[in-house]
C-alpha cells in the first residue's frame, strides 16, 4: 500500500496514456507520434532536468526561461554579426553559465532568497535579451542553415529516425542523472536540501556547491534556449518565457513520486512526459487550447495535492 502511494502519479500517468490510446486508437501510440512528443518536449525537459539540480538543494530558479531566451538571441546575434556556428553556441553557453553563477552568488554569498534573487535576474536576463536582439526577432538569412538543420536532423536507428533534439535531451538527462545519483556532488546537494545547516557543520561546502548548482542550471537553460532557437530557426527575446513555470511544474509532479518529496531527475522525466503527453493528446482530441491549460493546471494541483494529502494523513 505504501508503494502504491508512491506510485500514484506514475499510475496516473499510465492512466492518461491509456486514455489517449483508447480515444485516439490510430494516431496516439504510433512511433511517429511518440517521437514527435519526445522532440516537442525536449527543450522543456532540458530546463526541468537542470532545474532539478537546484531543487535538490531546496532552492529553485525562476530565471531559466529568460535565460533560455537570452542564450537564443545571443547565439543569433553572433550569427548575425558573421561569427561561425560554434562561436555562437559557445557564447550562448558561456552567457548561461555566467548568469547561473550570478544567481548562485546572489543566493549563497549575498544571502538573497532564491525566489527573490532569481526573480531579479529573470528581469535582468529578459532585459538583456531585448538589448542583444534590439527587441526584434532574428530569423531568416541571419540564422545559418547548419544551426537550423540540427533540430530537423536525427540519427537513424533500426529504421527509425531519432530526432536530434530528443537525443540532446537524453544526453542532458544522463549527465544530470549521473551527477545527482552517482557522485559525491549530488549526494551533497541532497544533503543541503535535507538540512543546510547540518550539512554545513558536517563539512559540506554549502556556498560553493550552491553556486556550482545554479551555474549548471543556467548552463542547462542556455542549452534549452539554443535547442529552441534551432527548432524555430529564429530567436526572439521572449521565446523561452513559457519554459520556467512548466519546468517547475514538471519537477513538482516528479516530487510527488518520492516518499520524502525529494526531486529526483528520473521522476522529473515522468513529470515532463505527463505535461508533453497531455499537450499532444488534448490537441489531437481538438480540445480548445485555453481549456487545455485549465486542465493541465488542475492535473498538476491534483497530483501534488494528493501526494501532499497522503503525506499529511500518513503521519
Amino acid at each position: 500500500m505504501r508503494r502504491l502511494r508512491r506510485y500514484g502519479t506514475l499510475i496516473g500517468f499510465a492512466g492518461i496514456v491509456a486514455a489517449f490510446a483508447v480515444l485516439l486508437p490510430d494516431t496516439f501510440l504510433t512511433t511517429r507520434n511518440l517521437l514527435n512528443i519526445s522532440q516537442q518536449v525536449s527543450m522543456l525537459a532540458v530546463v526541468a532536468f537542470s532545474m532539478t539540480l537546484v531543487m535538490a538543494m531546496g532552492d529553485f530558479d525562476l530565471s531559466v526561461g529568460s535565460m533560455a531566451s537570452l542564450a537564443g538571441v545571443t547565439a543569433a546575434a553572433m550569427f548575425q554579426a558573421g561569427h561561425p556556428v560554434p562561436a555562437g553556441i559557445l557564447a550562448a553557453l558561456a552567457v548561461g553559465l555566467a548568469g547561473g553563477l550570478l544567481n548562485g552568488v546572489l543566493v549563497a554569498w549575498v544571502g538573497i532568497l532564491p525566489f527573490v534573487a532569481t526573480l531579479g535576474t529573470l528581469t535582468m536576463f529578459s532585459g538583456a535579451a531585448f538589448v542583444v536582439s534590439d527587441g526584434r526577432t532574428i530569423f531568416g538569412r541571419d540564422i545559418p542553415e547548419p544551426f537550423a538543420a540540427f533540430a530537423r536532423g536525427g540519427v537513424e536507428v533500426a529504421g527509425v529516425t531519432l530526432p536530434a533534439l530528443t537525443l540532446a535531451a537524453l544526453g542532458v538527462f544522463l549527465v544530470v542523472w549521473v551527477l545527482l545519483e552517482h557522485t559525491a556532488f549530488g549526494r551533497r546537494l541532497y544533503a543541503i536540501g535535507g538540512n543546510a545547516e547540518a550539512a554545513r557543520l558536517a563539512g559540506v561546502p554549502v556556498a560553493r556547491l550552491r553556486i556550482a548548482a545554479f551555474g549548471l542550471t543556467g548552463l542547462g537553460a542556455a542549452a534549452a534556449g539554443l535547442m529552441y532557437a534551432s527548432r524555430v530557426a529564429s530567436a526572439n527575446p521572449t521565446q523561452g518565457a513559457g519554459l520556467m513555470l512548466d519546468a517547475i511544474a514538471a519537477v513538482f509532479l516528479g516530487m510527488t513520486m518520492s516518499e520524502e518529496g525529494e526531486p529526483r531527475v528520473h521522476a522529473t522525466l515522468v513529470g515532463v512526459l505527463i505535461l508533453a503527453v497531455l499537450a499532444n493528446g488534448l490537441t489531437q482530441l481538438r480540445v480548445d487550447s485555453y481549456i487545455r491549460e485549465i486542465l493541465v493546471g488542475a492535473i498538476i494541483l491534483a497530483a501534488v495535492g494528493a501526494a501532499g494529502l497522503g503525506r499529511i494523513l500518513g503521519r
Binding site: 496516473g12 492512466g15 486514455a19 496516439f28 524555430v232 513559457g242 499537450a279 481538438r286 487550447s289 491534483a302
Partner: protein, 314 residues
C-alpha cells in the same frame, strides 16, 4: 492511511480519464473537412479578425475548425502543427512566420496535408499564403500624393529599410516619384522606432521644416507606415504651417491615423488591409485545396483599400 494516498494518487488519473471521455463524447465525429488553425498571436487584434473571417467562411462550408493559440510560444506552434498532422486533419492554416515553424511544415508535407498561410509569409512548403499586397499599398498612397500635388513639388519620405515588408513599400514610392520629373524627394528619413516612431519622426520633421522655411517649399510627406505620418503631422501643426496644404499619407490605417484623417487636416490618406477578407480568402484557398485543386500562385493578394476623409467613417 497508505490506502488514502493510493486513492488520492489515483483520483487524479481517474478525474482526467472521466474528463477526457466527456470531451471526446462532446466532439463531433469527423466532419467533411477538419481544419486546424495554429497561431501564437491570437491576442493581437489583427489576428482575431483573420480568425473571425476564416471561421465565418468555414461555418458556411460546414467544416470543423480547431483554433490553437500558443500564446507567443513558437516552439509550441511547431508542436501543435505536428500534432495536427498526427491527428490527420484535412488542412492546416498558420498565422506565424513559416521559416520559424519549418519543422512542422516538413511533417505536414510528408503527410500530404496542405498548409495555408494566413498573412504568414511566402514559403515553398506552403500551398499558398494569403495576404495584402505591400507593393500595392505603396502604390495607392504614392499615386494619391502625385495626383494631389499635380505631379510637381518637394516630397519628404519616411521609410524603414531594415524591415523587409516596410522596405518594399519605400521602393515602390521611390519609383513612382522618380517617374514624375516635377517631383523632388528632398529627404528620405529613417526614424528611430524604439518609442514607436512618432516622437522621433516628429523631431526629424521639425528639423526639415526649419531647413525649408518658405511656405510651399514642402508639398507632401509620404510615410511607409502611420506612425511617422502622425509625427510629421504633429510637427507641421506645431510649426504653425498646417495652412500650407502639405499632404501627408500613411499606411495601415490604424485607429489614430483614422482619427487624424477624419479630422480633415493635413493627414489625408492611409491604406487599410482587409483582415476579415484575408481570413475569408484563406478559407477559400482551403476549399480549393480540399476540392483537389492545386493552387499555382504562392501568394494570394487580398485587395486593400485607400482610406480618405470620404470613407474613413465606414
Amino acid at each position: 492511511m497508505t490506502t488514502g494516498g493510493f486513492r488520492a494518487g489515483n483520483s487524479a488519473g481517474a478525474m482526467l480519464l472521466a474528463g477526457l471521455l466527456a470531451l471526446a463524447a462532446a466532439t463531433p465525429a469527423a466532419a467533411e473537412g477538419r481544419v486546424t488553425v495554429v497561431t501564437p498571436y491570437l491576442a493581437q487584434p489583427g489576428t482575431q479578425f483573420y480568425v473571425d473571417g476564416f471561421k465565418a467562411a468555414a461555418a458556411e462550408e460546414g467544416w470543423e475548425v480547431n483554433v490553437i493559440d500558443t500564446a507567443g510560444d513558437i516552439a509550441a506552434a511547431v508542436a501543435r502543427i505536428e500534432d495536427a498532422v498526427t491527428q490527420g486533419v484535412d488542412a492546416i492554416v498558420i498565422n506565424v512566420d513559416p521559416a520559424q515553424v519549418e519543422a512542422g511544415l516538413a511533417q505536414a508535407q510528408a503527410a500530404g496535408i496542405p498548409v495555408v498561410g494566413m498573412d504568414a509569409g511566402m514559403h515553398p512548403m506552403l500551398a499558398t499564403n494569403v495576404t495584402s499586397n505591400g507593393y500595392a499599398m505603396a502604390v495607392e498612397t504614392a499615386t494619391y500624393i502625385v495626383n494631389r500635388i499635380g505631379g510637381a513639388g518637394n516630397v519628404v519620405m519616411f521609410v524603414f529599410d531594415p524591415f523587409p515588408p516596410v522596405q518594399m513599400r519605400g521602393v515602390i514610392a521611390d519609383a513612382i516619384f522618380a517617374n514624375h520629373p516635377g517631383i523632388t524627394v528632398i529627404d528620405r528619413v529613417t526614424p528611430d522606432v524604439q518609442d514607436g516612431g512618432i516622437a522621433d519622426s516628429r523631431a526629424k520633421m521639425e528639423a526639415i521644416l526649419a531647413a525649408n522655411p518658405e511656405p510651399g517649399s514642402i508639398a507632401a510627406v509620404w510615410a511607409a507606415w502611420d506612425q511617422p505620418a502622425l509625427g510629421a503631422l504633429q510637427a507641421i501643426e506645431a510649426a504653425g504651417r498646417a495652412g500650407e496644404g502639405i499632404v501627408i499619407t500613411g499606411i495601415d490605417a490604424n485607429p489614430q491615423a483614422r482619427d487624424a484623417i477624419a479630422a480633415g487636416g493635413n493627414f489625408e490618406a492611409s491604406v487599410a488591409q482587409d483582415f476579415i477578407g484575408i481570413g475569408r480568402t484563406a478559407a477559400g484557398a482551403v476549399a480549393r485545396l480540399l476540392a483537389g485543386e492545386t493552387i499555382r500562385e504562392p501568394v494570394i493578394y487580398v485587395p486593400t483599400r485607400l482610406i480618405t476623409a470620404a470613407n474613413v467613417a465606414e
